[in-house]
């Protein structure tokens, strides 16, 4: 090993704490980039492979009942690549393991051949034997949530009939990647199940002999989904079709799509911020580090090393630090990516989800590291290497403080000399100090943005569950029922308060645009389920007016005052003309709300309800669940508390992990910047500080000068960082909204307090560490050496 390389290793060892701090900054940037970009790539690729392999449908169309012979007509529609007709029926489970009745769907499986569309993925076991009427394949997540095994029996109410079915296999389905009960926001594998049965057996159980009630269609590559949907609707209309839906309106597909979009937004936003901040900091820190080495550079040149060799030596020093950071970041990013993939499979039911960042993702990481470290080192190294050795070895002449801007302020007689030194140091090097300030501010802004997500989620949950929906149970009937059914519910034991609602599937049209969305009829001034806007204000639909959530209004291109057409796709299928009263921004879900009596009148019905919201005495809840489980005309029962817990849990798991990662990495970046700033300041001013000690200044006096500089930078950087974080959160709030939720723009004071506290604590710890070095300054040596 050449002496220069030996020096390299010793220097790296000597600079290890600073080096590690810099490496951590790089690692944080790389890890965030790798985790996010890798996760996005994994999810999109897994999804497209899975959808393709299982022949996932492009269109779904349900009917009340249509003859099986219609299948050929469907397949004959231009643009249809493949079509499958099947029977789908709502299911209410009766599980021993829980009082609340899970809901679900049962589908028919074609006999003797694989499904042409929406093939299930048989994870374990076998398909039902066509000769047996009581066998079923069950959704894997649901089975696992209830501890069911192959061979176990499951009790379910199908179309009012109680059935006992034997499980022959566990399956996954591309239709239930995100397995969620209709109307719910968050999947709970225990609350929603899917069954697949032999066609003949289900025909029998659901009274659908020779008929189907749903068709799923795969399109040819060039087909226009809307055109095919229209043709399909036309064909199926006589059979009571509410209208075909595309993947965009398919719950699972849309949820997965929205997750991909969020990852894309996050991936387009967060990693570049982290990488840019990391690159910027590495640049500052490395250049200051090399500046301190000035004398050694002169010495090396005096020994006969060329400028190129000197520059190369220091580039290797910087490169060593960069390499450590890069490797740490890649290891951490890959590890985190894998951990996140495992987490994803917990609520996204893919048969496999392997985290695999593409080489491109790694290459970007390498490129950013090389550029940031290289550029940071390059300028200061070339500047130092250009100096004549004698000049480099001589202490730099005292920096001239006479020409600084703002020097007059520092002449104020109220200042003591130490404060004056701090201020002049800050003013004398505006670029360097400005950069450090920006670096600290950047770390602070990342903290704010990371924590903003938690705030937004909390706000969303609080608005939706505590303000908007205050019922304990939501009951949905299998079909619209007369008001008496509601009164029957309201009279039940333990029910404190009850509110009816009516919902009707409809196609909303405005000018050329169309959206499929249920109309919801609510009572005047509801108390249990209210529409709440993003300012937590209650929206009460006025008589004769329609309240359309802002996202729907945008999709339709309509605004308040416009009259839209609503084609109701059930019952007598009336076409309504409705005027939009307001378009509030709601945080969770979309919706079209109007007065219950208006909806009834429009539908030409006499006060008919689809379900009810109930507030139930805590002691009576269990008994009521049991009762509702037995009730044949109840399609679904939703438990508010359970839904809230599930939502909270899932957010804690998914968002919580991301937020923890971001917070950790923002913290690492803050450590990297602040510690290095203090440390390099110490290196630059060691001689001055030791001189002061000799002149009779105490350790505390001397620490004040060094740490006052950092304190001052923090003082400016903290508000700057909080402001920048606020602006970034605002931008993210807009970018992250999907069809399912609008990320509210809200930052709790605790977030600001936490971000500021993190910076202050890191500043204080850095100060303490450096303070120990001040205590051990060699007073004698500093007087003898020049620098």
């Amino acid at each position: 090993m050449s002496p220069l390389d030996r020096k390299l290793f010793r220097d790296l060892w000597r600079l290890r704490t600073q080096g590690i701090a810099i490496a951590l900054v790089i690692a944080a940037g790389i890890a965030v980039h790798l985790t996010m970009a890798g996760m996005l790539a994994s999810l999109t690729e897994t999804r497209s492979a899975y959808y393709e392999r299982q022949r996932f449908a492009d269109l779904w169309a349900s009917v009340v009942r249509a003859p099986n012979t219609l299948g050929d007509n469907i397949r004959a529609i231009e643009g249809v690549g493949a079509a499958e007709t099947r029977i789908a029926a709502p299911v209410l489970f009766d599980m021993d393991s829980m009082a609340e009745p899970p809901t679900g769907v049962i589908y028919s499986l074609p006999r003797g051949r694989p499904e042409a569309v929406n093939a299930i993925y048989l994870d374990r076991g076998r398909l039902p034997d066509p000769s047996r009427r009581d066998e079923t394949v069950i959704l894997k997540g649901f089975a696992q949530a209830h501890g069911l095994e192959i061979g176990d029996a499951v009790r379910a109410t199908i179309r009012g009939k109680r059935e006992q079915l034997v499980i022959t296999g566990f399956a996954l389905s591309p239709e239930y990647v995100y397995a969620i009960a209709p109307g719910q926001l968050i999947p709970d594998p225990a609350l929603f199940g899917v069954l697949w049965m032999d066609r003949d057996a289900l025909e029998n159980a659901a009274d659908m002999e020779g008929a189907f009630n749903e068709t799923v269609v795969r399109l040819n590559r060039s087909a226009d989904p809307d055109a095919v949907a229209d043709a399909l609707d036309q064909l199926l209309e006589p059979y009571g079709a509410p209208g075909a839906i595309t993947r965009r309106d398919h719950v699972s597909a849309a949820f997965v799509e929205s997750e991909v979009e969020q990852l894309q937004t996050m991936g387009a936003f967060m990693p570049p911020i982290f990488l840019a901040v990391a690159a910027f900091l590495v640049n500052i820190v490395i250049s200051r580090l090399v500046a301190v080495e000035r004398e050694q550079i002169g010495l090396m040149k005096a020994f006969g090393y060329g400028s190129g060799e000197v520059a190369w030596h220091y580039l290797k020093l910087a490169g060593g630090i960069g390499l450590v950071g890069l490797l740490l970041g890649m290891a951490a990013g890959t590890w985190l990516g894998r951990a996140m993939a495992v987490l994803y499979t917990q609520y996204y039911e893919f048969p496999y989800l392997v985290f695999a960042a593409t080489p491109g993702v790694y290459l970007i990481g390498v490129a950013v590291t090389v550029l940031s470290v290289g550029a940071g080192a390059f300028w200061s190294v070339t500047r130092a290497a250009r100096l004549a050795p004698a000049v480099a070895m001589r202490a730099p002449p005292p920096p001239d403080y006479s020409v600084s801007l703002g020097a007059t302020v520092t002449r104020l007689s109220v200042l003591d000399q130490q404060t004056r030194m701090i201020l002049r140091q800050l003013i004398r090097y505006p670029i360097r100090n400005g950069m450090t300030t920006l670096g600290v501010a950047a770390a602070g802004s990342l903290l704010v943005v990371a924590l903003y997500f938690t705030d937004a989620m909390e706000e969303m949950i609080a608005t939706y569950f505590d303000i908007s929906n205050r019922h304990d149970i939501a009951v949905v009937f299998t079909e619209a029922r007369p008001m008496s059914a509601f009164y029957d519910l309201a009279r039940r034991e333990g029910v404190i308060e009850a509110e009816p609602f009516r919902s009707a599937a409809a196609r909303l049209q405005f000018e050329q645009r169309e959206v499929r969305m249920g109309l919801t009829g609510v009572i005047d001034r509801p108390g249990l389920s209210r529409l709440i806007d993003d300012a937590r204000q209650t929206i009460n639909p006025p008589p004769g007016g329609l309240v359309l959530s802002q996202d729907l209004a945008n999709r339709l291109g309509a605004q308040a005052g416009d009259t839209i057409r609503a084609e109701v796709t059930e019952g007598a299928r009336p076409v309504l003309e409705l005027t939009i009263a307001s378009t509030p921004t709601v945080l969770l879900g979309s919706g079209v709300h109007m007065r219950l009596e208006d909806l009834s009148a429009a539908l030409g019905e006499d006060r008919v309800v689809s379900g009810a919201y109930l507030r139930v005495d805590e002691n009576a809840r269990e008994a009521l669940y049991l009762e509702l489980k037995e009730a044949p005309l109840v399609a679904g029962v939703q438990l508010h508390e359970l839904a809230r817990d599930n939502m909270q849990e899932i957010l804690d798991q998914s968002m919580g992990v991301s937020v923890a990662i971001y917070t950790l990495f923002a913290g690492l970046i803050a450590i990297g910047v602040i510690y290095n700033a203090v440390r390099v300041s110490l290196a630059e001013r060691a001689r001055e500080l030791a001189s002061l000690r000799v002149l009779g200044f105490s350790k505390t006096d001397v620490s004040y000068i060094l740490l006052g500089e950092t304190g001052f930078i923090l003082l400016i950087a903290i508000p700057l960082g909080l402001a920048a974080g606020t602006a970034m959160a605002w931008a993210l709030a807009g970018a992250m909204s999907s069809d399912f939720f609008r990320l509210p723009y809200i930052i709790y004071p605790s977030t600001y307090a936490f971000a500021a506290a993190v910076l202050i604590v890191i500043g204080a710890i850095s100060a303490l560490v450096v303070r120990r070095r001040i205590d051990t300054l060699d007073l004698v040596a500093v007087l003898k050496t020049r620098e």
Partner: protein, 237 residues
């Protein structure tokens, strides 16, 4: 009647750097006394122990063994805090490389010390004593080497120190400037009565001293008084 204790009194003063085979004996049992107001020039080759001696007397370093007293107060057993206080209240230092704060003007560099001293003179007065009354608002970068060293002297004397330690004060200066600096030191010694120690490699400086001490191999080789001392301007450089 008991006489006042001497300014400095050192007994069997030893200083060892390092341990075992690599131990360096910088001082080997030095016995030394200095009276108030003396101007003492210390000579000796590099490594002879003169700087070590000065550092111990100035409260920058501690002896390995032996005793040293300043006006009867033990420095060898003083705490860090006491030494800082001793330097702050009694000692002025002038260094070969000036050690000025580049971010402070001449006046502010002096004020740095007068702000923490118990009975200082005005910074302008101290700068006047070294002939820099016209340059008080200049930063170190705007001053020549000799001017910077005179600011350092002004900074050292502004607190009216009882003792003034100068380690190679002219080492980085040309002869004309060096003589101006020595004149300033002598003036301080006579007007303020500060006991003054000047370490130098330049033997001719010895002629301006009351007393000359020559170090060699960690011990005092020679300790003589000048019968007739001469003015710095008369020194043959």
């Amino acid at each position: 009647m008991t006489s006042d204790p001497p300014c400095f009194e050192a007994r069997a003063l030893s200083k060892v750097y390092g341990e075992g085979h690599s131990a360096v004996h910088a001082l080997r049992g030095v016995e030394f006394t200095a009276a108030d107001g003396e101007l003492i020039v210390i000579l000796g080759p590099s490594g002879s122990g003169k700087s070590t001696m000065l550092n111990i007397l100035g409260g920058l370093d501690r002896a390995s063994s032996g005793e040293v007293y300043f006006r009867g107060e033990a420095l060898h057993s003083a705490s860090d805090r006491q030494l800082t206080r001793y330097r702050r209240e009694h000692v002025g230092f002038v260094f070969q490389f000036y050690n000025l704060m580049p971010s402070l003007t001449a006046r502010e560099n002096v004020a740095l010390v007068t702000e923490i001293a118990p009975d200082p003179m005005a910074p302008e007065e101290a700068l006047g004593l070294v002939g820099l009354d016209k340059r008080v608002d200049h930063f170190p970068a705007e001053l020549s080497g000799g001017e910077q060293q005179r600011v350092a002297i002004a900074r050292a004397i502004a607190k009216r120190p009882d003792v003034l330690f100068c380690d190679e004060p002219t080492g980085a200066l040309d002869s004309t400037t060096g003589i101006r600096v020595l004149e300033a030191l002598q003036q301080v010694n006579t007007t303020l009565g500060s006991t003054t120690f000047i370490i130098t490699h330049n033997a001719s400086v010895a002629d301006m001293a009351d007393r000359v001490i020559i170090f060699g191999d960690g011990q005092i080789r020679e300790d003589r008084r000048n019968i007739s001392k001469i003015q710095p301007s008369e020194l043959i450089w």
